[in-house]
Symmetry: C2
Subunit: 201 residues, 2 copies
């Protein structure tokens, strides 16, 4: 909408906003109007921030993280344990683990999972660099923090095979009941895994 | 989050995106990552579109619409009936009526409703210009297309009083059952209005 009503500039803005995850055509219109109303407080700073992001953000050639410097902030951080490497699917997963703040380790972002049905093979994800990093010798443990989905687990299996020749520990995330989760709402697979991996109280 | 993880540029982008209506902190992070991943297809065009919107979009001095030209596209459109003026609260309401496409009339955007409790009086909304437009003589009917809320109806009453001296017809939107609405889910006020204003079948 908006073609004859609001001019091509607003129309284009709405179209682009609607392509953000979480925004549909209706909320994109609301967002556009909000931006127009808050021109100085929001529209201008957002335009600048996007321009800056476009100019500065690069993919770290070591771990695949998104940052404004390469190597990224995490790879430059000498305080982080260089012996533990957490393998994640996406930058979003890396951020989630950092928010949880459990381990001050190194990361490796695959950028996806193997998915033969979608034509995504080992060459399409950031695997070669992972093997190089392990081969270089510092890594003692690789934690496969991939999704507990079919594709995620297949990817974990494949990586385990590729890293078999190196003398390192390969671990994966525990399966079980999520904190705060009610048993009644959990699927059979999660419950079975939680029973099988039960721990002493 | 993201301060030590992803650098200040990404952090700033997430903060600004989270201020858009419909996006919370979590979806703002997802949107930011989506933008970074789709740098050429989405980030760059959106940065440009915002920059262009910032430079070009103005408020029409006649009707209060947002457009890239002043007078706006609707005010310039000579095909529109100059005798009928639809008064709306916001540009979003104007767009909604244009999407419905019922009437090819002129608009007047108030930019809000009177709200004594919030300290919004007649001088804070676009009323003076409305009275000027009516006084100039072309308008024969003013349709008060304001919300069926307390503030909306109070605003409609106030405007009716201000326009009493002019020899014009003042109408308001019909109250009743929304198309597709199920009676069971409607409030008492709507049902009462729909019964009172019942029409011959």
């Amino acid at each position: 909408m908006g073609k004859e009503v609001a001019g091509p500039e607003i129309d284009r803005l709405i179209q682009l906003l609607a392509r953000l995850p979480g925004l549909g055509p209706r909320s994109a219109r609301r967002a556009a109007l909000h931006l127009i109303r808050k021109r100085n407080e929001l529209l201008a700073p957002l335009a600048d921030a996007l321009q800056k992001a476009r100019e500065t953000i690069v993919t770290c050639h070591i771990c695949g993280n998104a940052d404004s410097q390469d190597p990224c902030t995490l790879c430059r951080d000498v305080e982080r344990d260089p012996h533990t490497l957490i393998v994640v699917e996406t930058v979003a997963d890396l951020w989630a683990l950092e928010r949880a703040g459990v381990l001050s380790a190194r990361y490796h972002v695959l950028g996806g999972t193997l998915s033969p049905l979608d034509g995504i093979g080992p060459k399409d994800i950031n695997l070669t660099r992972l093997i190089e990093r392990v081969a270089s010798g510092a890594v003692q443990e690789v934690i496969l923090a991939v999704s507990a989905t079919v594709d995620g687990q297949a990817t974990a299996h494949y990586i385990t095979g590729q890293l078999a020749e190196f003398n390192i520990k390969i671990t994966r995330l525990a399966l079980g009941v999520p904190v705060g989760g009610e048993l009644d709402y959990l699927d059979d697979g999660t419950l079975a895994a939680a029973i099988q991996s039960r721990t002493l109280f």
